[in-house]
């Protein structure tokens, strides 16, 4: 696509293991910074050969460092999964499904290799949610809402409860009971997604490939904020590539999308993975998905927005119109999730907080744990 920034093109190549011809050391610096900012640096490191001497020492240093990070993350999620098995009752644990990054990593699929995530996402049935939350609190998992408004927002309208944080290890857990906000009116019958789930070695489960991928697409196109859009699109590229070799997979995926009403999200995911990552998708599949795409004028707008916001957001790969595209994605993200009167209330509450922040500086918010590490020093 013509609006693709030069470094986005390079990054896509690197993520598939190809080193672009004649890139300078300074290009490497830029690419590593962009990849780190977009949370794909470890994924890039695993795609490239960091053991041999084909890469410049400068790049190897940062890629090797990123690999160590990813290994640690994978180990931590493995540890937490074992913990959850230990502390939840057998009945409740059989109702746990890992989602997104944790699921990719725990299930060992390609999208899990070098996948960066900052929290563990877990789906449980709504009926068990209260008991599971209570049980987890005994083991030092506590909820961390910013304020009463946030707590109310989560409890009443969202598809998840406020994030739980382990007070010893600092791990964050997002407990979901659905995949999209209940208030949106588009929340699916969750059993449609959990049908055919696969068991992991730890005893918990991950969704069947078609459900995992459809959720990935829904999650991406239900966002307001696309800072990790490129990484999430890269997830979808890897998932399609890995599971898409079987026609039965595509059949199951289309049936699920039709049944749950997420055809548009699937069609968009196919459209933008193939255009940016050149994902191997059978042409019949692509063609079949087009019935879900919006009418031509609307599609032009979608393309204009998503072909921008799904690129890395670093200033080094800025594309003309990105700011406006981000704003349009933000509006759409809210629009599809909330009825208008709720949206207005939400905007007012968030706006008030932003004004406070602008006046008094960031310190007014309760310190975010991830941003509160004291610098090492004497």
């Amino acid at each position: 696509m013509s609006t693709t920034a030069k470094y986005t093109v390079h990054l896509v190549k690197l993520l598939s293991g190809d080193v672009p011809q004649s890139i300078s050391l300074l290009d490497w610096e830029y690419l590593i910074r962009i990849a780190r900012d977009a949370s794909v640096l470890p994924r890039m490191a695993y795609a490239l050969d960091t053991d041999g001497d084909s890469l410049p020492e400068y790049a190897r240093t940062h890629l090797i460092s990123a690999k160590y990070h990813a290994k640690l993350l994978a180990q931590q999620v493995q540890f937490e999964a074992t913990e959850f098995k230990r502390i939840l009752t057998k009945f409740h644990h059989e109702d746990v499904y890992y989602l997104k990054g944790a699921a990719y990593t725990l299930s060992g699929c390609d999208a899990g290799i070098g996948r960066v995530f900052s929290d563990i996402d877990m789906l449980v049935s709504k009926g068990n949610l209260r008991e599971i939350e209570a049980r987890l609190s005994v083991y030092a998992w506590f909820s961390q809402p910013n304020d009463d408004y946030d707590d109310m927002y989560y409890r009443q309208w969202a598809h998840e409860i406020p994030p739980l944080k382990h007070s010893g290890r600092g791990t964050i857990l997002d407990l979901h009971h659905n995949l999209v906000p209940i208030i949106s009116g588009k929340a699916p019958e969750i059993t449609d997604f959990t049908e055919g789930a696969r068991s992991l070695a730890c005893g918990a489960r991950v969704l069947a490939p078609e459900a995992m991928i459809l959720h990935s697409a829904v999650h991406l196109f239900y966002q307001e904020e696309y800072h990790h859009g490129f990484r999430d699109l890269s997830d979808l590229h890897l998932l399609f590539s890995e599971f898409g070799t079987q026609q039965t997979f595509w059949d199951a995926l289309f049936i699920l999308a039709q049944k749950t009403g997420f055809g548009l999200e699937l069609a968009l995911a196919l459209r933008y993975t193939t255009s940016l990552f050149d994902t191997p998708v059978p042409s019949t599949v692509l063609q079949k998905s087009q019935v879900w795409l919006p009418s031509r004028p609307k599609l032009v707008v979608y393309d204009w927005v998503y072909k921008r916001v799904l690129q890395p957001h670093h200033k080094l790969c800025d594309v003309p119109g990105l700011t406006l595209a981000n704003m349009m994605a933000l509006v759409r993200g809210h629009w599809i999730k909330m009825p208008v009167h709720i949206l207005l209330m939400h905007t007012a509450a968030k706006g008030y907080r932003n004004v406070l922040k602008w006046v008094a500086g960031k310190g007014v918010n309760k310190p975010d744990s991830a941003k509160n590490n004291a610098p090492p020093g004497p």
């Binding site: 300078s24 290994k71 006046v359 500086g361 310190p367 941003k371 590490n373 610098p375 020093g377 004497p378």
Partner: protein, 303 residues
Amino acid sequence: MRLRDISASEAAARLIAGDINIDLGVAAFGVQSALPDVQRVFYQLYGDYELLDEASPADFRVAVQSPKSLRRWYKPQIHFLLDDFVPFLPLPRSQAYPVLEWGMNWCMASHMHKYLLLHGAVLEKDGKAIIFPAPPGSGKSTLTAYLAHTGWRLLSDEMTVINLETGLVHPFVRPICLKNNSIDLVKSWFPDVSISNIARDTNKGDVAHVKPPIASVDNIKQTVKVMAVVLPKYTPDVSLDIYSLTKADAFQALSDNAFNDFVLGADGFLALQRLVENTTAVEIHYNDLAEVLAFLNEGQFSA
């Protein structure tokens, strides 16, 4: 070209533009700041370091900036940035320079995992390095400043950098960070040494930075074999007591002071193990730096 080869005003202009890339041996840092006090102290302390040309990559692009909130005028604050990322909450404006130094350490500790990184000073004499791992309050930086001006080569004050493959220690020469009373002590011992102005009331108390000796900066790429590990413990009523440490205690002490051993996993464990096996470790309780110097110069670590 060294930083001092350009004028202070050119350095200031280039710091505003973020067009200063300084070679610290194990890493190159691109530095940006529009704050005049940061520019002044940076120019004072890093004058002897080599500037990299514009085609050279930086390992980290860091900045110290005023945040864009109205707090600019009311109890002003500053931010440290790595690229566009703000890793910590803002700090009071008066701490701008120390925050740059501490932020640079944070960059290493959280992103440079090609090495084992320990919280500790390193000094060398006759091709043999001693590591001084120590938590804050042990008197490590005062000891470091003293040794660095009495015949020992400074490799590092804050961060020990160990090569995972060779086990050798890499210099990471940086200004020495003095706290509280030790600022005046060092000034009285070494009146000719260049020391930054004092940042008051930081979370570590009053803080000033000592310019590293030029001989250290000139040998910034010269790795050294580690001979001993010395745990310093400033003890007001003891002139010098030396305790020999078992391998297990030495391992524990190094591990307690490691920044990234948990990230390195098994490789970190093995690097610590190798370090302990190939060195002698002692703990010293002291109040008399001259006696410590004499002991270290003698180099008799085992009974």
